[in-house]
């Protein structure tokens, strides 16, 4: 019996072995294939650490358990990340092109589409999977393509799939360049994709840039109060950036703080993936629905882009709607690439960046709206 206490290999179950393999795979993808290494390497390592038998890192008082209690269960890590994200984002491309806000909103449709599917497969209909109403909402938020918001909502709703949801949300962010283009091409015609949009945009004043985060906190907070922690931290970070007098703090938020919290968050999320919770049909289904969520969000954005194309008298290239999901700046880059393929003079990058930053705000609002609405139904 004594060996069992000391020799981990004797206590290794096949499930834990699978998880060790999965952790190794994420580390491999991050380092060898450079797929979101900043996230996948810490997550992969966390998975390995959590699944080594008798390691005790996830037992009460263990390293990963302490991080989880302090940073995830309190929703602290995603909010700290958002201060860094806010300091990184230049909302200028949105402020110069205010109409892109509608594309950001349209692309959030993926959230609701996926929620209905998850709820229908779970307790709302077929009961094929163990998805409660709150699990379904949390799974839907993957469609926002917004990692911190996904963690935040899944944690507040106490979804038992929080870890899988977060890993799904982050891994699809890396797959944006693969998931989006076929949908964008299928839903648009060649002449739509070729449409060049003007490079010049009216400049926004410094006062507007400084007022924007403050006004956004007030407006969003007063309409969707549950989104206040998310929008508040995001916009506080942006205020540091735009104030012009806090360069040091802005840099610290973008670099030191974002990096430290990313390390802790990655390890902790990986540490939440213990074999018993992860190796089940529901996890696989969450991954499938994650693809659906991204695809529906992209399609909704592009279709709304087509509406704007017609309404504007062919001045808006519908491709930029795909950037309405908040994977920033990945999906803005995807739009630029697909547009350039159709026409070598077509540089949609800044227009797409406008929709992309609008999507960042819209996903936070959608997350807040979901949190506000859940108590009425659950």
């Amino acid at each position: 019996m004594l060996e069992r206490e000391f020799l981990g290999i004797l206590a290794l179950t096949w499930q834990a072995a699978v998880m060790l393999g999965l952790g190794g795979l994420l580390i491999y993808l991050g380092i060898a294939k450079q797929v979101e290494p900043v996230l996948l390497v810490p997550i992969g390592t966390g998975i390995i650490l959590a699944n080594i038998p008798l390691g005790g890192l996830t037992d009460a008082g263990g390293f990963l358990a302490v991080l989880r209690t302090a940073g995830i269960d309190t929703e602290l890590f995603p909010l700290l990340i958002f201060i860094g994200v806010g300091a990184m984002i230049d909302f200028g491309s949105l402020l110069e092109r205010p109409y892109t806000v509608f594309l950001g909103a349209a692309a959030q449709f993926g959230i609701f589409g996926t929620f209905f599917v998850a709820y229908f497969l779970g307790e709302g209909g077929l009961r094929l999977f163990d998805f409660s109403f709150k699990d379904a909402v949390s799974i839907g938020i993957i469609g926002s393509a917004d990692g911190p918001t996904s963690i935040y909502v899944a944690t507040i709703l106490r979804s038992k799939y929080a870890a899988s949801i977060v890993v799904a949300a982050y891994s699809y962010m890396a797959l944006v360049p693969i998931i989006q283009p076929p949908i964008m091409r299928a839903l648009t015609t060649d002449s739509e994709r070729r449409l060049v949009m003007p490079a010049r945009a009216p400049k926004v004043s410094r006062r507007t840039r400084v007022l924007f985060p403050i006004v956004t906190i007030l407006v969003v907070g007063l309409i969707a109060p549950k989104a206040t922690p998310l929008i508040g931290t995001l916009m506080f970070g942006n205020l540091l950036r735009e104030s012009g007098v806090l360069e040091r703090l802005s840099q610290a938020a973008q670099n030191e703080m974002a990096n430290i919290v990313t390390i802790l968050l990655g390890l902790t999320v990986g540490g939440m993936m213990a074999a018993a919770d992860f190796l089940r049909a529901e996890t696989l289904m969450i991954y499938v629905m994650g693809v659906v969520a991204f695809a529906v969000g992209t399609a909704a954005g592009v279709l709304f882009g087509k509406v704007m194309y017609v309404a504007s008298g062919r001045k808006v290239n519908p491709l930029i709607g795909a950037a309405g999901i908040s994977a920033f700046p990945m999906s803005a880059r995807v739009v630029q690439k697909v547009g350039l393929e159709a026409n070598p003079h077509n540089h949609l990058l800044m227009h797409a960046a406008g929709a992309n930053t609008a999507g960042q705000i819209a996903s936070v609002v959608a997350g807040g709206a979901a949190l506000a609405l859940v108590p009425f139904f659950a």
Binding site: A199, R200, A201, P344, H345, L349, M350, A353
Partner: protein
């Protein structure tokens, strides 16, 4: 003779300049590479002709709409 002013499609930094003033250029030839949002945007000639002016040098930052080069053809 039409004059084409090639403008920067996005704010960013010029990485490379391929076009040279006084030299002929064909439609679709590269004028320069602009880096924006950590992405390299190849800027190509909208029409063939002669490059009459190049307004940018590598390392220079530009605003959206700034003239990059002028082509006469």
């Amino acid at each position: 003779m039409a004059e084409h002013i090639v403008e920067a499609p996005a704010p960013g930094k010029i990485l490379k300049v391929h076009a040279e003033a006084g030299k002929p250029i064909a439609a679709g030839d590269r004028i320069c590479i602009l880096e924006a949002l950590k992405m390299e945007l190849p800027i190509v000639a909208p029409a063939g002709g002669t490059v009459t002016a190049v307004h940018v040098a590598p390392g220079q930052t530009v605003e959206a709409g700034d003239p990059l080069a002028v082509i006469e053809g």
